[in-house]
Amino acid sequence: MADAAIFDVAVIGGGVVGAAVARGLLGAGLSACILDEGDIAHRASRGNFALVWVQSKGLGMARYGAWTRASSDAWAAFAADLEAETGIDVAHRRPGGFNLCLSEQELETRRGALVRMHNQPGWIPYDWEVLDRAALAREFPDLGPEVVGGLFCPLDGHVNSLRLFRALHASFKAGGGAYRPEWPVTRIAPLSAGGFRIETPRGVVEAGKVVLAAGIANARLAPMVGLAAPVRPQRGQILVTEKAAPFLHYPIVTLRQTDEGSVMMGDSAEEAGLDERIGLGVLSVMAERAVRMFPRIAALNVVRTWAALRVMSQDGFPIYDQSEAAPGAFIATCHSGVTLAAAHGRLLAPMIARGALDADLAPFSARRFDVPQTA
């Protein structure tokens, strides 16, 4: 086997999280490689819904609300940088986003959750509002008769997530990064002199730092460097229609029209292990709710459905940590990799480059899951 290639940092995982962090590390002046799996893998980045979403994030951890908000605020500049570097327009839009409710009970449940979220200690407030049917009808001329009301937050937006994925990789490559697909990591060994030796069936890499951004696989990799990533897969399903003339000018948390015209639906959550099969019943519920919101879309052809696996921690919040046992080993794992891409690239990556996470990321440490021993 040839001598190991040596990098300042090796990022494990080439999805949106890994690519955003790796690109940020290049930007901080480090030499970086991404080690990725191949054509067939559990790839949350290929299955996501492409919202840059704020309004429902943070009940149970105020810091997550602020982190999400910070990413959302950084997104416009992040997208502009990407376009300047790669020529790829990731179609970031931030017109504000809606959550439409089909019953008074739904509206009350969701309104109540937002009130509780905004009343948390340490919450940094931002605007949101409850809209009645009449107010919604002014924004959505095609609104279905069963929509009773909804929630609106001006911070919400969306992107073209596949173009984001490609732009991140194009930028990483243009910046001199080494992308190694089909290099699935089998072993990470901390070296006595510092740094890490990372083994794959295709070859070995040595790096001063290592960032675990491998989604579900972080659960397997983290213990190799003294970290913990108690994450599990949670299945989400999506329907996509043929392209249609623009009619929906705002993202809705369960329904959006892409810049290319397709209508996407998807907000299911199932505990199904690694099973990535679709279920017609769940898809039908999503289709039915979408048609009740906008009856005109019933005539559109569905061209594609899929299921993908969200990366869920026990409380649903991200995990960011540096290993105490093996300093230089970092982990970044979350389920909203698109929303958080700007924070990962512009905020998290510089911390990793400096060698320490900021103190205000402490709430995201996996140590929060350690249950104190009782006598």
């Binding site: 054509d39 490559k173 996509v240 039908s284 289709a287 039915e288 052809n301 569905v302």
Partner: protein
Amino acid sequence: MRRLTDVGALREAYDLVIVGAGPAGMAAAVEAAGQDRAVLVLDENPGPGGQIYRAIGTAPLRDPRVLGAAYWEGAALADAFAAAEVDYLPGATVWHLDDALEIGVSAGARSAVLPARRVILATGALERPMPLRGWTLPGVMSVGAGQALLKAQGIAPTGRVVLAGCGPLLWLYAAQCIAAGAAPSLILETTPRANWRGALRHLPAFLATPYARKGLALMARVRRHLRVVPHVAALAIDAEDGALRVTWAEGTAFTADHVLLHQGVVPTLNLARAAGCAIAWDEGNACFAPVTDAWGTASLPGIAVAGDGAGIAGAEAAALRGRLTALEALRALGVLDEAGRDARAAPHRAALARWSRGRAFLDALYRPAPHFCAAPPDAMACRCEEVTGAALRDAARMGATGPNQLKAFLRCGMGPCQGRMCGPTITETIAQERGIHPREVGYMRLRTPAKPITLGEFAALRKTEADRRAVERR
């Protein structure tokens, strides 16, 4: 046969569902009928026949010499199918199949999902794409599409017509057009000269077959009526003053009104793949095909693939393979024991061996040149999403090593055709760009719906309380 008109007339469940009413599907139905088992045939055409016997009962060209004897031989099978005790729903789109043998079918803008105990996929073949520069221009179509027009509507192209590519269908179609009084102007034959080396050792077996003499006579007839340029190694089409300029060698071009392309057929993989059946590279046919055993049984229990959908072998072989899958289904359904199945299968197996002779020669001779299978930079590769060969190659260099990562990078294969028009092209283009075999590249994952249905139809499907909880989080 009980002809149904809509999904409301379907039974709640069937013992055997056959998808496709071409030679394999019709023969499977005939073999499985009359055994006190509920058999359903679903087909997307308005009448039985599939591609090869398209419009067999309704073809406007009544002169049997135009479409030829091989076409009209389908009438006997269609008659037997009409007499078989099976349910038959034409105009039906099968858009879903899964490993629980649930079948999603749409007809007349309504969908039903019904369970089967056994499924036979007899969805046949489609033409291998030929992604040249200009193959998406108006006036360019596939030979198969041209032949469908000839069979169903009696329409042949007029004016200056070029046929380009390789394979038996190209020659058959030329002969049919000549018989219809619309001789094409020119055939640009792309069979590589080197193919003869591999084909020659199979020539004696081919010459002993019934179709060798017929085929050679047909080619001689075609050559008498039009010019044939052999061993064409480069080909591109450009729009020019309302016509099509076809260039095949430096400085050699012909101006045409219509160009029809063809380079053989490949199995339709969509339903088998969406269900999760394993596929493997078939070196003889130079394409991916579902993995099947001697009874056509696929890798998922209860699903079989019959006919060209399991690997290209022609109409007569398709019918025999349809019968074999039906006999195995009857065994699985408790109608036949193994000995009974094998006894009924014996004559079909013998006939299949006869019809398979000579196939190796055709496969070796008409194996398409790899450079006509990969998209050049200036050709459209994915027509739905308008992804060029250049974009595919750039993404492959950027690290999208296979078709599934390419979808994420470029959306290729994610449009309404569900990869039918681009799947082989994407695999071949990555293989060429990376310098590896298409087998190593693999094939794109295919999804439900195998063909588009409306959101309204999706919304009307049956749902459980658990389905609602997964979305509404109550």
